[in-house]
Subunit: 334 residues, 3 copies
């Protein structure tokens, strides 16, 4: 059903396709899996560090019998040129399109992590490294988190939520901005928003003024919800957002308006240090499930009492990435 597809954004997968992969992941989690990828190879390319993603992608692929080669920018990858037709007399020693084409000769799939690298959001949001690899790779491309999207994270989150609630239609998810000293990427909130809309959930997005999601991603969320019967509400009020929710998904992200202006961003951010998920807030929810994509700053983003509660799903979320990625690899490379 998804053979040969790129997994770069949830947007391009229909609810039926999401469903299919979720069911395959559940099957494989319950019944195990063989080694259908024997003789196949995955090239993982990291332009930014990774723990969970590196470990879960590598183990998912190799546990299916495949071979993984792990390439790290700066150590292994030349400075990449992204512009078509550029005269490459500067620091870039290789064009992204050549890197993508060469890796396609060696590997049956390429997985890439590439986060922010520009000073202005208008350029940043074009996600040029990912787009260039997608355009030029001749094998399926997996997004291991880009500027805009982190599909495997949200796909695994859907699996976790379904394990708790069954059918997600009409279930209330509060996606809430919490304070962190760093401006984190927007990929997780974007992906989670699109996932919630695809699954027909009642989504509340909550953040301080100035921390709006990227307008393009938000458009996708609204448009998708309209198709699936989901709903989307945006609010600044954390108490309002969490009250009555089935699940609270905490995340911290940077201000796109102040992208590339870290001092101003830090100043705006510092006005919201109180945005933290507490046990009191969780007590107002309907089912008390807590989610976070990790790493999480304890007692800053959420209290220990929330993270370590029996209704906290954070560890299972991380674990389910293994299962969803195994299903994706098996089906895309089937």
């Amino acid at each position: 059903m998804i053979q040969g597809r790129d997994v770069v954004t949830l947007e391009t997968f229909s609810p039926e396709e999401l469903r299919f992969v979720l069911d395959r992941a559940k099957d494989m989690k319950r019944d195990g899996h063989g080694t259908p990828l024997q003789g196949r190879a995955l090239a993982m390319v990291f332009f930014n560090p990774s723990l969970r993603t590196r470990a879960s992608f590598a183990i998912a692929f190799s546990s299916l019998g495949g071979t993984v080669v792990d390439l790290t920018a700066e150590r292994d990858i030349w400075n990449l040129e992204l512009r078509e037709g550029a005269v490459m007399a500067g620091v870039a020693e290789e064009h992204a399109k050549d890197a993508a084409r060469v890796l396609s000769e060696y590997a049956d799939a390429i997985a890439i992590r590439s986060l922010a690298r520009h000073d202005d959001w208008a350029t940043e949001r074009r996600d040029l490294v990912l787009v260039s690899f997608q355009k030029h790779a001749s094998v399926p491309l997996f997004n291991m988190e880009s500027v805009l999207e982190h599909p495997c994270q949200a796909w695994g989150d859907a699996l976790t939520l379904e394990e708790e609630f069954g059918d997600l239609r009409g279930k209330k998810l509060a996606l809430t901005w919490v304070y962190s000293p760093n401006a984190r990427p927007l990929a997780v909130p974007h992906a989670v928003g699109i996932m919630a809309a695809k699954m027909g959930m009642q989504l509340t997005i909550c953040h301080p003024e100035g921390y709006e999601l990227d307008h393009g991603a938000l458009d996708v969320v609204h448009r998708t919800a309209a198709e699936t019967g989901g709903t989307v509400r945006v609010t600044n009020d954390l108490t309002e957002a969490t009250t009555g929710a089935h699940a609270v998904y905490a995340a911290s992200w940077g201000s796109t308006n102040l992208h590339g202006r870290p001092d101003e961003e830090r100043h705006l951010r510092s006005r919201h240090t109180e945005r933290r998920i507490t046990a009191d807030l969780m007590a107002r929810t309907q089912s008390g499930r807590f989610l976070h994509s990790m790493p999480i700053r304890r007692n800053v983003e959420a209290d220990d009492a929330v993270i370590d509660a029996s209704s906290s799903l954070v560890i299972r979320q991380a674990g389910n990435r293994l299962h969803i990625q195994r299903a994706l690899f098996a089906e895309v490379l089937a």
Copy 2:
């Protein structure tokens, strides 16, 4: 016999368990091994560099059919918080307990290398990274060298010594401090001391004043020797220590008293540049076997003539780590 056990220190293994693993390693070295770890995964986490350990752990695990993912601090691992209940508003972006719990979702075992990171020995000797991972990981933990211990090194050394001498009870081992310009970790001398005591050897520990082993590790050595019928003697005199020994194990380590005060440590150390294993010293031994855990500074820690003698065991020691680790993986994950 050791299924599901953590391999973090030799102290927690009985002489019978040490025996069992040594015999399994000998069997596997002689007869080969199948692929009993097919479908299993090992997460290796390095907070410090490694050549021998990285190569021998990775090859041991994967030659048994398993999958290895290699995670390097700074590149892959966030700054880890170690304190329970900490408000994580500083540089640490992830709590060690969350890293340990998440990796336990992906891997069937975790192996960790974590050396000195503090300024005072009282904190350092608590081996907090190792302890935190051991507490929170839900899968077996393998110590690839910590501040205090390096069990697989010493276990492999026991295999090497047995190949030479058979029963080690009563055999004389001189564990001797030698000069090196750097203050190296104490993990190897600690582990070798405990191993010698567990095997009932007659152990002489020799070092200049100020280079005493950690008092806790030394207590374990004394207590263990009392149980096994081994003996422990401590001396400052290198000639006395090596005379009549069956084997000389050279190692260089830092002064715990001067931990975190590198200039003073270097000054103390510089008074002992003559502490080097020479052919003359080896001629006073009973059986002339020379051991070192490597890397070794040639003609500083020991002369070329000693390292390259036919009775030098250094290369076989390194090789036997592969066999002992294979046996450990196979039995712990059986």
Copy 3:
């Protein structure tokens, strides 16, 4: 036919042996391959970064069923001492011979990348890291590019050329220096020169004055051509070199005369910015095939129109490294 051999330079392989490996690579590319290296391990040691080589070596070995451990200098490898008999009281913490001997205990083959590290060419050209590993490793050694040679690159290039032209005897290859802002290693032009001579090609080497190949490598090229019936011509004139050629192999390399004097080298180099392969130049050739070992600076070393032409072989060259290396691993470790 080549069982147990080191693959450090093409010089030591006879034309019959080159032929044998090319045929094996073609067979495996067409018919696939089993997993003859199950249970075998390769230690890859990188003193310099690598994308293509790291990915293609790792995937070649592991797709044959083997296990690969990837060791990176500075991260994993101690500073290596290269001098025999040295008193190692300086920065070097391990002797290259000990590293080579230890890795030989763990792995069935060692692959090494080690580029320039000295200030004078007379020392540099001795390729001491490679030579030390070759001398002391007790398992086959594979050169993944050294100061002087890059045999697997050129062997793969021979495969690519044969796929285009069949028998290479008498075919005209123009190996042409092109401008790049950096002084690149000489390993590729040396290896390609030796390969062309071994295959009996009519080789033209073209470069500006001051960019002569290493005299020792050039001697090998001349001597080999004399044996195989090939020819070698050296010229400064790029138009003359490319006119009538069957294939143009563009490469950029540093001046050995100015090795270790980067400012002077850059100054000399900057007088040749016009040395670029254009569509006009390619139009003067006989068959228009374009080769480059990559990474390539587009529109600096060669124009987009050349690199992206249907007669450009650059991507296939990169791809064929996988096949040639698979054949080499299978036959050397047979």
